[in-house]
Structures are given as C-alpha cells and as structure tokens.
Amino acid sequence: MNLFSVRQLQYFQCGPVDIEIKAAECIGISGESGSGKSLLLRALADLDDHQGKIMLDDIEQHDICAHQWRKKVALLSAETQWWFDTVAQHFTSLPSQQLEALGFNQDVSDWSISRLSSGEKQRLGLLRLLENKPEVLLLDEPTANLDKKNTQLFEKFVLNYLENNSACAIWVGHDVQQLQRICHRRYDIDNGQLVSV
C-alpha cells in the first residue's frame, strides 16, 4: 500500500475524523476511556455503521466485500477470542521464527487455549491476524497485558512487519511514553475529534 486515508468519518456521536497514513508509518491515538477510540477502529474495520470515505490506495471501503476489506484492514481487539481447543487449530501455519520473535517456543502450538494468559493471547492474536498479510493494522491497546520485555518484543515485531510489508498501523494506547517511542505522529481523541499532539 501507499496511502490509507480517512475523510469525514462519522461514527456514533463521534467525528468528523480525517487521517492520512503512509506506508511503514505508525500513528498513535490516546484518549480517555469511553472517548471512542475502540469504536473508531471498529468503524475503520467496517464492523460498525459509519459515514465518510475510507480509502486504501484507490480502493474505497464499500467497493469490495466487507470480509476482503477486513483482511486488508485488520483489527486486533483489546481482548482476542479463541474458539477451538488448541492454539494450532487457529492457525494455518506457525513459523518458529515468528514465534521466537514474540518470545514463544515451538511447543506453544499444542497448548490448550484455557492455559493461555491474556498477554499470551494478545501476542498469539497478533500472529494470527498477520496470517492475512494485512496492509493496515488497527491495534487496540495491544500491550496492555504484557510485561516490559514482551512489550518491547511486540513493538519491535510490529514495526518490522510495517517496514517489510510496507504496511501502516494505528496504535491505540494509554502509555504516552510508548506512543512517543514507536509512533511517527500522535493524536488525542477529545469530544470525538482527533487533535494532533
């Protein structure tokens, strides 16, 4: 991709929101709980009703099927869901290189879902999402449940992915230092409007 652009986006009582993100860019969004950060990501992934124009290069959101859009513009929600019994059943393949990069051993694939901690679910959730090779990553407080070491692994992994696949990301989070560290631009959501920081 080259450009992900959002124009006059209105969702629920929020907006209008305008953003443009280029390849390999990561932008950060923070704001109080209930300010509509998660809803913004859901609208971008076309999971909620909204108005406005959302374009990925020259493809408009409504020009392609919703499920195809969601493969390109992928949302990692704050709480990932797992419905089969083991980790491996949720993946088509689990490359050991990627597992290691996120701090896992190869044997994680045999683990049953019930023993995963919320932090493990987030990291595996990212791997699962990246199987679709998305061009835009929408990350909703992705490291909220991770310790310092795993947070760093996670950040590095995402930034590498953006670089190697010329993808871009919107990172929603509360940790201002983290957003300063990894994001090219930062915004606050205030009264449903994006305010550049």
Binding site: A45, D46, L47, D48, D49, H62, C65, A66, H67, Q68, R70, K71, A74, L75, L76, S77, E79, T80, Q81, W83, R128, L129, N132
Partner: protein, 269 residues
C-alpha cells in the same frame, strides 16, 4: 375393546403436571406459567376439536380446507415465535417461522396427498387435515428448537463471531458452527423418535390404528410414511429457518446486527 377414561383418570395425570409446575416454581426454573397455559390449552383445544372434527371431515369444500390449513399454519408459526427467547423485530419472526412451515409441512402434505394418498377429491379433509396436523405439530418443535438455539448461541458468542469477522471470515463462515449446532438441536427429536421407533416407543398414530382394529402391517406402513415425511419436513423447515435467520443477523456489510432483535424483557420466561 376400548377402555374409556373417566374424569378421575384425567385428573390423576393433571395432578402430575401440577406437581411439575410447583417443583419448577420452587427451583425457580421459570417454566410453570408456560406449562400451565399449555396444559390448559391442550385440554380446551382438544375438547373443542373433538366436538367439530366429525363436521370438518364430512365437508368437502375446497375453500373450507384451505381456510383451516391457513389457520393451522399461522397458529403453528405463532407458537414457534412464542417459544423464542430472543425474537426478530417486526413481522420477520412470524414471517420466517410461518414461511418455513409452509415450505416444509404444507408443501410436503400436498405432495403426499397427490402422490400417495390419492383420495377423491385430493384435498379430502379426512386425510388432508390430520396429515397436515401431524406434520405441523412435529416440524414446529424442530423448527422452534433450531431457531431458538441459533439466535441464543449467536447472542452469547457475539465476541467470537466478531473476532472471526475481524480475521476476514465471511458472515457465513463466522456463523457456520453455530448453525451446525442449531441444526443438530432441531433434528435430534425426530432422529431420536425414528431410532427408537418400535424398540422403545410405539408411535401413537400406529398404535391408535391397531387399537381401532386396523391390520398391524398396514398401520406400520402408514407410520413409516408419516415418520419420513415428518423428518423431511423438519429438516427442510429447520434449514430454511436457519438460512433466513442467519442472513437476517448480518447486514450487507457482514456486520452482526443484533438491533434487529427485540430487547429482552427483564423476566421474560
């Protein structure tokens, strides 16, 4: 020889239902009022139909048969709807359940009347009405179970369905497993009764015919015919309902659309 039932025999059975209701009330299972209403209805409705059945069977007016059939299908559709915990808004709930009964029971009855029974006239109420009644009575159970299971499970598993959508599944893929479960729920009663027929249970219609003096093998043939028709009717009915409802649960952008369901009242059922 027919043993006649006295009022005492019936009240003995009624006491059992009453006890069941009391126990359910005591354990807060919340089925008592529904149970009592259904029991009262069965008494009143059967007594009434017993009084007029002779007159209905004697008539051969086509319009009259159509009218009765329409009433039967509508009531069955209404009953399916009132067994649902979460209903679709507007006419969708009734439309889908009555529509699926029409596809399953109604059309199968007509097919059977034309090809198997071949009475003269083909809509002779003595055959058409009981046949339709048996089909409706049995298919509506399966349809009500399947429908309730689909909507309830989808409601409870909303996060999983949405997660699958986020991973790029189509609406169809995201609800496929829930639909499979619902299909199983809808079909289990009829599969059970086919599997147990003759070994565990002697189906009522067949037993009735034999008690009334029909040749057992003839009665058995009728029973098999009816069982297969009920199975086909239930299956096609449940499939229709599941297909229509799972369409209705998503909008054209493959988003879950629970705003199309009625809000649950606080102590409904």
């Amino acid at each position: 020889m027919l043993i006649e039932l006295s009022a005492f025999d019936l009240s003995l059975a009624a006491v059992l239902v009453l006890l069941l209701g009391l126990l359910s009330g005591y354990m807060k299972l919340g089925i008592a009022s529904q149970l009592y209403i259904a029991a009262a209805r069965t008494t009143v409705q059967l007594l009434l139909i017993g009084l007029v059945l002779k007159a209905i069977f004697a008539s051969t007016s086509f319009l009259f048969v159509v009218l009765i059939s329409v009433v039967m299908v509508s009531v069955a559709g209404w009953e399916i709807l009132s067994r649902q915990k979460r209903k679709l808004k507007g006419w969708w709930g009734f439309g889908i359940s009555a529509g699926s009964l029409f596809v399953s029971s109604f059309l199968i009855t007509i097919l059977c009347l034309f090809t198997v029974i071949q009475a003269d006239p083909w809509y002779h109420p003595q055959y058409a009405i009981p046949l339709l009644g048996m089909l409706l009575g049995n298919t509506m159970t399966g349809i009500a179970l399947g429908m309730d299971r689909l909507v309830q499970t989808a409601w409870q598993q909303r996060p999983v369905i949405e997660q699958r959508l986020m991973l790029g599944d189509t609406a169809d893929q995201a609800i496929a497993e829930i639909r499979r479960d619902a299909m199983r729920s809808g079909m289990i009663p009829i599969i059970n009764s086919m599997a147990a027929a003759g070994l565990v249970s002697l189906p009522g219609m067949m037993t009735g015919q034999i008690l009334a003096g029909a040749a057992p093998v003839e009665a058995v043939k009728y029973q098999i015919l009816i069982m297969f028709m009920i199975t086909a009717g239930t299956g096609f009915g449940v499939i229709t309902v599941l297909w229509l409802i799972s369409k209705r649960l998503f909008d054209d952008r493959e988003r879950l659309c629970f705003k199309r369901l009625l809000k649950l009242e606080k102590d409904a059922h």
